[in-house]
């Protein structure tokens, strides 16, 4: 919402020439979502401050079709965020380009500058703030704003009052701010498209290649969009070999972070594919197919004639649809919206059904329904089912009552899984064998447990 830039260069009022904004006037610029106002609270020979104040209309920020009540009450209108970056390029375009006809020599003169950002959101906290600005030579002064003094238990605001001081060219300061403000916020107020790569290159090519946390800056600036990140890395770091640097830990989903070193998901897919082949299954249904990771792997195998994915989440199905476009067109893969808690004739007639890491998402009381739906009604010839082995959790560094994913309703020990699998197999006329996936531990067993049910003749 507010950003000021102060210089003590003499004469300080030359800042007005560099910014192309007269220190004696209050100037207003219309932007899509409100006005940008430029004024000078202080303009003397010894010290001059330019202020950029954004008057944002919160309603204009609510995206169409976004029917979220919270969108109308948003800190965005008051923080220093990507809207400020946009305003910088709109209002100080010439200054950012490093042009000034009246004082051309000043453009390339390092000036003593201070940027004041009274409400800067830092996802990643003060550490990240310092990691971003200090390598560029800034002195960073930051105070965290309390979230709500009346409710200290709500925790920190991650919102900082920040002063950045450096003797530096004005256009450099503006470009640093332009890129690093949204990087700190970890979000943008608009859709991130390929144009963002150009912006990053334009404003960052001079300093970004040498920045020690450049990969992180690129990743966060481009919101982790893989194709964009690749493009940006290729053009910004074009001369260097690009080290494979995975995203930092707190930027990955919790479960993925835990299991990453094992690449457990890949091992599960491998084990399931092999088991399905050994069972001679030709028609397979993936119950709870999610974004289609398993289906994509199975589709590569000619052994499977018909692959069906079923999921209750429309978002997941849309992702799977994108991933499996070609196979869907051929008709070999089908995607269905459905729920494992409702009897569904469309699930019938398969050689095998897979429930990969699904049951632990079901409330225990409703598991009985899933049993009836899958074993009682769908009745595939074979069922492959995987679920976490709770005993293994300490090896992930989890506390005894902690689960691998917040959405997990339960995680079973080997004994609990065995008892359940045995009971449902008996109840519905299946034979069951148990095994594990991943690197086994002598005491805790495998990280993932698997049951293979086969219908008794």
């Amino acid at each position: 919402m507010l950003l000021t830039i102060t210089t003590t260069y003499q004469p300080a009022t030359d800042l007005g020439y560099l910014l192309h904004k007269h220190p004696a006037r209050v100037q207003r610029f219309g932007l899509g979502w409100g006005d940008a106002v430029v004024f000078y609270p202080e303009a003397t020979e010894s010290r001059c401050t330019a202020a950029l104040l954004l008057e944002i209309n919160p309603v204009a920020l609510v995206r169409e079709r976004e029917h979220q009540l919270s969108a109308y009450v948003s800190p965005q209108a008051y923080t220093v965020n990507s809207m400020m970056s946009t305003a910088l390029t709109e209002v100080f375009r010439t200054a950012m380009a490093g042009r000034c006809e009246k004082r051309p020599e000043l453009v390339n003169t390092p000036l003593p500058l201070e940027a004041y950002l009274p409400t800067l959101p830092c996802r990643g906290g003060e550490t990240l703030l310092r990691e971003l600005f200090e390598p560029l030579g800034y002195t960073v002064e930051a105070h965290e704003i309390p979230l709500d003094e009346a409710f200290p238990e709500w925790g920190a605001s991650r919102l900082y009052q920040v002063r950045l001081r450096h003797t530096i060219r004005l256009y450099e300061l503006l470009r640093h701010l332009y890129i690093l403000i949204p990087v700190l916020d970890g979000a943008k107020h608009y859709y991130i498209s390929a144009a963002e790569v150009d912006k990053l290159i334009r404003q960052g090519q001079e300093w970004l290649p040498d920045h020690p946390t450049r990969e992180r800056i690129i990743l966060r600036y481009l919101n982790y969009r893989p194709t964009l990140v690749e493009q940006a890395i290729a053009s910004i770091l074009r001369d260097e070999a690009t080290p494979e640097e995975p995203p930092a830990d707190d930027e990955l989903p919790f479960e993925a972070r835990l299991e990453r070193p094992l690449s457990l998901q890949a091992q599960r897919i491998g084990a399931i594919t092999a088991t399905l082949k050994s069972l001679g299954a030709r028609r397979v249904i993936d119950l709870g197919c999610g974004g289609g990771a398993l289906l994509t792997a199975l589709a590569r195998e000619r052994a499977f004639e018909q692959l069906t994915g079923l999921d209750v989440s429309l978002t997941a199905l849309r992702i799977a649809e994108r991933k499996l476009k070609a196979e869907l067109a051929k008709g070999r893969v089908r995607l269905l919206h459905g729920s494992l808690l409702y009897l569904d004739d469309r699930m019938q007639g398969y050689d095998a059904a897979v429930l990969m890491e699904v049951i632990e998402h079901i409330e225990p009381m409703r598991l009985e329904m899933l049993e009836q739906v899958v074993l009682g009604h769908a009745q595939p010839r074979a069922i492959l089912l995987t679920t976490p082995n709770r005993e293994y959790n300490p090896l992930f560094g989890l506390l005894p009552d902690q689960r691998r994913h917040p959405d997990h309703q339960f995680e079973w020990t080997r004994a609990e899984f065995e008892a359940w699998a045995g009971r449902v197999a008996k109840q519905y006329g299946y034979r069951v064998r148990l095994s594990g996936i991943g690197d086994a531990h002598p005491e805790y067993g495998y990280p993932t447990q698997m049951a293979v049910f086969e219908r008794s003749a």
Partner: protein, 836 residues
């Protein structure tokens, strides 16, 4: 000469058999509706533009078979106008008849070749070669002998043009539908098994005059017997004679039971196993002369497999019936009605293992049956078993219809030792919700608001919500509807004002409205049970709890089960203290309430959205004010004030919660209890009942239950309105969310259908949380809002919510309750301005 009378049951597949030119089409047109006739010519034309295009024949027959199947599925008589000369042609129709329990009827037009040839010659649309016609005539002639053997239940043969012209087709209703139009009232009586004394006693209790030969009821009630009149008990012959007289006098109906059926077989001279009490009946019969035996047999043979009554809303069958069988007749249906669905296996007592058809029943007709004794009448889905084992020393039970009350008299003694020593009450099994019943485009019939359409793209997300986050669907018998606000006010500093609510209801012809304090927390639906057995017994939920508390989207309210248990325990105790269980004759209550503080449920939203907005806004505006030129100061100052007020507003709805006693539970509707949806009682009744509940809670020394303050307002009295407006302004200035204005009666039909069941009027400060901290600075722009769409949804969701409850208390199938609940969620997915 009078011609033949061709009697055709109402649901038949009538196959016309005859050569080309035999006059099939003409005959069909004379006796059947054009839409009842499906002809091969028509199907050929339909798909090939030419009814003589023989190349299209196989395809045409596929179409024909599909049409026949669909008509039969819907219970429509269908006439097949094709030559159907060969057994293989007719086989498919017989299969379809069997599949859909229709009666296969053949009408053969076996006219001489000369007639057919002559007609063929004069045809202008097509001519066949003579040889073809002759072959067809011969085939028709040969068919005649085979038709009955092939499986046609009625075979009629017309041999001359005169016979064809003089024949009369008469349609007869099937036995189960003979009395369909009879709306009762009925007293439906369970398995009597020769217990004459108890039967007479029961009739007396039901108000029948039993003196004389044939009992009658002064109110014209009729008795309906669910079968198994005989065997095991002391006076089987007496019971049958009594029932026969009642049926003949037109004061009773009866359906056949498996014991009755077995006696018929015995009396027909068939070999049957004399066991399960038949031995006693045979003993009795020995003392009676042959004419009586014949009379008994004739009577029992006249009994239908089942009866549809009250225009199909009531069905009586001995062992039960499946939805598609109702009103139809076939050997398979008769078997089902007599024995129920069995696996063919026997249990340890040698009794057949029964499948629980009632658990799967999803029909809208109430099915009353007997056959398997239970300690109490057993309601499940929309069915009730009223066999309470009189002959085994239990009781003889009747169901009064349409009252749906059961009346029982105890057995005078144990007449027959039961094989199974204890009556096990069957579990309300795992619910059999089917995807196809709840997904895709849905039309839901509601009592209050006609048919409500749910679009496919909205039912899918609703299903996702309930599948992924919902509690057990057996609990979710209701979800609260959305509520519309008043039209925007023109008061200078308010967006919403009670005046608009009063005006709305005045316009709807409502003079008395109730203004209720609106609490700011999170909506909670609580089902409170009298004891831990009720969830299993009434809801079929296998849990030893005192109920459940869930959110407006069907999610469990509390993450910690101990908190839910503590709240339910307190609600149960308060209900006990308040005497609600007995007053309402129930062992469960459904409460619609607000649970506070808001922060208990909205913690994340507060932390990530609401509090940061205030923190950032206040910090940024302070910073700006410190440096801004004079011309910007007033606006910035006004904005800062707004931010402070905004922070004050949300803070009032937050407090730290350490234990369940820190919560506040404010109920405002007592929506339902056993056998009753309380939507026909005025809001004052709800508020008074709940005030008693809250008082009881305080008497128990706990602060959790919070009463809702309210005022009754006359919409035609300015004085009364002014008082409530003052009350509204005081309450909202002090931080209250607002008020809800409701018509005194729960359900009001206004000028155009259902009126809004409630309108909310929210206070100025509260609305900062909704419209943004600074909304008061842009009031004029915000006044242009349209509440129409929101109001349409509010009424539809209200109707669906009440419908769900009405279905639940009537023991209708879970699917039918679930459809309504999903419907509410689906409508909630419709895009509407979320600030309304």
């Amino acid at each position: 000469m009078a011609g033949q009378t061709l009697t055709i049951p109402e649901l038949s597949v009538v196959v016309l058999v005859g050569a080309s030119g035999a006059g099939k089409s003409t005959f069909a047109r004379r006796w059947f509706l054009p839409t009842e006739i499906v002809s091969s010519d028509f199907c050929r034309a339909l798909i090939a533009d030419d009814e003589n295009d023989q190349a299209a024949t196989p395809h045409a027959f596929e179409v024909l078979h599909t049409i026949v199947a669909k008509r039969l599925e819907l219970g429509k008589l269908t006439v097949i106008d094709a030559t159907s000369l060969y057994p293989e042609d007719r086989k498919r129709y017989l299969e379809l008849a069997r599949e859909y329990h229709a009666i296969p009827v053949a009408i053969a037009l076996a006219l001489p070749a000369s007639v057919c040839l002559e007609r063929n010659a004069t045809r202008t649309d097509r001519t066949l070669r003579e040889g073809v016609i002759r072959r067809q005539v011969e085939a028709a002639r040969q068919s005649l002998r085979q038709l009955e053997r092939e499986g046609f239940r009625y075979v009629y043969v017309l041999r001359t043009p005169e016979e064809v012209d003089t024949a009369t087709v008469v349609r007869t209703p099937l036995r189960p539908n003979m009395h369909r139009a009879d709306t009762g009232p009925f007293d439906i009586i369970g398995d009597v098994h020769g217990c004459l004394d108890e039967l007479l006693e029961l009739l007396r209790v039901l108000g029948w005059q039993v003196e004389g030969d044939c009992p009658t009821h002064p109110d014209g009630r009729k008795a309906v017997f669910v079968g198994d009149l005989i065997d095991r008990g002391p006076n089987s012959v007496g019971v049958v004679q009594l029932v026969r007289r009642m049926v003949e006098a037109g004061v009773a109906y009866a359906v056949i039971g498996n014991h009755d059926e077995k006696l018929i077989r015995y009396l027909r001279g068939r070999k049957v196993q004399v066991s399960h009490g038949l031995e006693r009946t045979l003993q009795e019969l020995e003392a009676h002369p042959e004419p009586l035996r014949h009379e008994l047999r004739t009577f029992l043979e006249s009994l239908p497999s089942h009866l549809a009554l009250d225009n199909g809303k009531l069905v009586v069958a001995h062992a039960g019936i499946q939805q598609p069988y109702i009103g139809r007749s076939s050997p398979a249906i008769r078997d089902f009605c007599l024995y129920g669905e069995t696996t063919g296996e026997s249990d340890e007592f040698g009794l057949p293992v029964r499948l629980n058809w009632a658990a799967d029943y999803r029909g809208s007709a109430l099915v009353v049956y007997g056959h398997t004794p239970n300690p109490d009448p057993l309601w499940q889905n929309n069915t009730v078993n009223i066999d309470t084992g009189c002959v085994f020393g239990g009781a003889l039970t009747a169901l009064r219809y349409p009252e749906r009350e059961t009346v029982s008299v105890p057995a005078k003694q144990v007449y027959y030792a039961p094989v199974r020593l204890t009556f096990a009450r069957p579990e309300l099994g795992t619910p059999t919700l089917r995807y196809e019943d709840v997904a895709g485009k849905q039309y839901i019939q509601t009592r209050l608001h006609g048919t409500i359409l749910l679009r496919e793209d909205k039912t899918a997300p609703a299903l996702e919500t309930l599948s992924r986050f919902g509690v057990d669907p057996r609990w979710v018998i209701y979800l609260p509807p959305t509520m519309a606000p008043v039209e925007a006010s023109n008061e200078p500093d308010l967006l919403e004002h009670p005046d608009e609510a009063f005006a709305y209801y005045r316009h709807q012809g409502v003079h008395q409205v109730v203004c209720e304090q609106k609490h700011m927390g999170s909506r909670a639906i609580a089902i409170v049970c009298r004891d831990t057995g009720v969830p299993r017994k009434r809801f079929g939920v296998p849990a030893e709890t005192l109920g459940v508390v869930y959110t407006r989207t069907g999610r469990r309210f509390f993450n910690d089960p101990a908190w839910e248990a503590a709240l339910l325990q307190h609600l149960r105790d308060a209900a006990t203290t308040a005497g609600l269980w007995d007053a309402l004759e129930t062992d469960w209550l459904l409460l619609d309430a607000e649970l506070m503080p808001w922060s208990a449920k909205a913690q994340e939203l507060l932390r990530l959205q609401y509090a940061p907005t205030a923190a950032a806004g206040i910090a940024a505006l302070h910073a700006a004010l410190a440096i801004a030129p004079a011309e910007l100061q007033p606006t910035l100052q006004a904005r800062l004030d707004a931010l402070h007020r905004y922070r004050d507003a949300y803070r009032r709805y937050c407090w730290q919660v350490h234990c369940p006693d820190d919560l506040r539970f404010a109920p405002f509707h007592l929506l339902a209890s056993e056998g009753a949806v309380h939507a026909h009682k005025p809001h004052t009744w709800h508020l008074e009942q709940l005030a008693r509940l809250c008082e009881a809670g305080h008497a128990l020394g706990r602060p959790v239950l919070q009463p809702t303050e309210w005022k009754l307002v006359d919409t035609t009295d300015p004085q009364s309105q002014a008082e409530s407006i003052r009350w509204f302004l005081d309450y909202t200035e002090a931080g209250g969310e607002g008020i809800v204005v409701k018509p005194l009666e729960f359900i009001v039909r206004g000028k155009r259908g259902l009126a809004q069941p409630a309108l909310k009027v929210r206070g100025r400060e509260y609305l900062r949380i909704i419209y943004g901290a600074e909304y008061t600075l842009h009031l004029d722009a915000l006044r242009e809002r349209s509440v129409g769409r929101k109001r349409t949804l509010a009424v539809q969701e209200f109707a669906l919510g009440i419908e769900a409850l009405e279905r639940f208390i009537r023991y209708e199938p879970l699917t039918r309750v679930h459809q309504c609940v999903l419907g509410i969620l689906a409508l909630e997915a419709e895009p509407v301005d979320p600030r309304l």
